[in-house]
């Protein structure tokens, strides 16, 4: 063993938050159009940040260098729909009563089979076709997981109608080429979720998303997630049905954003990002403070691994972290990809403080799925082949 390599950490002046200062502002649960201030979030969307008149800067816990202290564990599970249901029009906030009802109904729906019920207030996060994804098979029920009510009508806050903008013509054309329905013509799926194989054909299964069929011929057919090549981790921070836990740690030189599925170390001391030739699985992010908001800008995304299939060459994601109470960070991200969406769009997602620790996530090491799905596909194919051979009077192969 020859060289050992070691990189300088943050400045040796270890920052230590001098205890959490008792906040003097209330964590407002009711929307107030007169006191909400948009400055921190920089768009027409109303922030939950208290106005300058009511928030004393000393009320926000700060690190020794004066920046708000973002350190802690957070949960970002939500039952708020991604896009605003039509019935709310341009309303950004629910009433307190509506907030409670949406939250209760959302929690209740987590226990019920979804069976194609699309009216979870249009909640894309809980795929109505995904009858197999009962959250309790993977961990806690949402109500045990620190989920909090959210007074917003939707996660999307810009455009003001709460809807993701249309795809560009270029993006629509690209999508049309990714579906491969040809294989489905020769295989009778007959609604079988377990997949099928016909003698001489490969195992295929419905992709359950209206996109056609999925194959399991070679490992990469299973996708980057199931093969653990890139099991998620953003940016942006975006909830699914489970594993919506994270940890943030900041120093003078870096901010670390650790999710269940991976971590990012982002320089915030003026160091530049990587050259354009580097395409990273979580993109390459560079951060800086704008007043009391930490801003992280990420580009250099990796092909095949972008948020909602955006174009890695042109995608830029800007994240803004603003602590609005000891329990909550207001997290806003803006998706800007002119070759995929006709205009940029933004989401506000509350990050709610919770207790740690985070457990280690050993994806590649414990990837039983990749073995079982591939081996299962081969078993289907052998069964189909044996059946055909039996009909033809050929001895069943032992291999």
């Amino acid at each position: 063993m020859s060289n050992r390599n070691w990189i300088q950490s943050a400045a040796l002046g270890v920052v230590l938050a001098a205890g959490l200062l008792a906040p003097s502002f209330a964590a407002a649960q009711t929307p107030s159009s007169t006191s909400a201030k948009a400055a921190a979030t920089g768009s027409g969307a109303k922030s939950r940040t208290p106005s300058a008149a009511t928030a004393k800067t000393s009320a926000i816990p700060r690190t020794a260098d004066g920046h708000p202290d973002l350190h802690g564990y957070y949960n970002f599970l939500t039952v708020t729909p991604v896009q605003r249901p039509a019935k709310y029009g341009n309303r950004e906030f629910l009433t307190p009563q509506e907030t409670k009802e949406v939250f209760q109904k959302g929690l209740q729906s987590a226990f019920e089979p979804r069976d194609g019920d699309e009216e979870h207030y249009g909640n894309e996060l809980f795929n109505p076709n995904s009858v197999d994804y009962d959250p309790t098979t993977f961990g806690l029920s949402p109500w045990q997981n620190g989920i909090k009510p959210n007074p917003r009508t939707s996660l999307v806050v810009d455009p003001p109608d709460g809807k993701i903008p249309p795809l560009t013509a270029e993006a629509k054309a690209a999508k049309a080429h990714t579906v491969a329905p040809a294989a489905a013509e020769s295989v009778d799926l007959a609604g079988s979720r377990a997949g099928t194989a016909v003698e001489g054909q490969s195992y295929v299964a419905d992709d359950h998303n209206g996109g056609g069929v999925v194959h399991a011929d070679v490992p990469l057919d299973l996708g980057y997630g199931t093969t653990c090549v890139s099991p998620g981790g953003g940016p942006p921070i975006f909830p699914g049905e489970y594993n919506a836990d994270m940890y943030i740690m900041q120093t003078a030189s870096d901010v670390v954003i650790q999710g269940v599925n991976g971590f990012r170390v982002i320089p915030i001391d003026g160091r530049p990002g990587l050259p354009a030739s580097f395409r990273e699985w979580h993109g390459n992010g560079v951060g800086h403070w704008e007043g009391d908001t930490l801003v992280v800008e990420t580009t250099n995304f990796h092909p095949g691994n972008t948020f909602r299939g955006a174009n890695p060459k042109t995608l830029k994601i800007t994240e803004r972290f603003t602590r609005i109470s000891p329990e909550t960070i207001e997290y806003k991200f803006t998706v800007d990809d002119p070759s995929t969406w006709t205009k940029p769009w933004s989401v506000i997602l509350p990050l709610s403080a919770e207790n740690g620790p985070l457990f280690e996530f050993a994806c590649t090491e414990d990837d039983y799925d990749a073995v079982n799905i591939l081996a299962g596909a081969r078993a289907f194919e052998k069964k189909a082949k044996d059946k055909a051979n039996e009909k033809a009077g050929v001895p069943i192969s032992q291999k």
Binding site: M1, R4, Q8, V14, T63, D254, L274, P357, E360, A375
Partner: protein
Amino acid sequence: MGAYDQWPGGQGIVEGGEIPYKPEALAQKKANAAKRMVVNVTSDDHRHDTGDPELKCYMPGVPRANYMPFPFQIVQGPDRILMAYEYARSLRTIYMQANEKSIPQKSPADTWMGWSHGHFEGDTLVIDSTGFVPYTWFDRAGDYHSDALHVVERYTQVSPYHIMYEATIEDPNVFTRPWKMSFPLYRRMEKNIQLVDFNCTEFVLDLVYGQYSKYPKK
């Protein structure tokens, strides 16, 4: 591959020059070495029987991650130290004394990169780690441990450019006594240095799962 696949010589980092195996454990080490390139990943208890975990892009464990030729970054936070490794994007969290009341003393679940508590003794960072799965190796020569592995590391910065590092390995299931390794850690001084991806999982998919694909090699 000619000389591409060769490694420089070295005098070794184990104090005393030998790892003190129990006799039956030495047989296992030799079996590991003989089968270090035999990859047979199943979905049962034999999944980790053969093959160097490094070959499969598994997390390298402790202290192997510190002497692989990939950069890592130490980030000192308010109540913990994070050690972020380029290799397989492995991460160690070293809980420092300030936070011990809310973090369990023992690992809630077995881990590849250990469950670590740290404190300073003067200017030396001392890290005590347990809670390991028994599947990592110390090197490509099949040197291994059980889930009773206990590692105590000492990091002492001796100049702005290097840290003297030592690790004491204890595992009563495998070794007759604790043993120690030591070496310097050199700071990376490149301008604008930062970690980049080494996502080797993508490169080993055929190696690890190829036997189950429709077109198996060999």
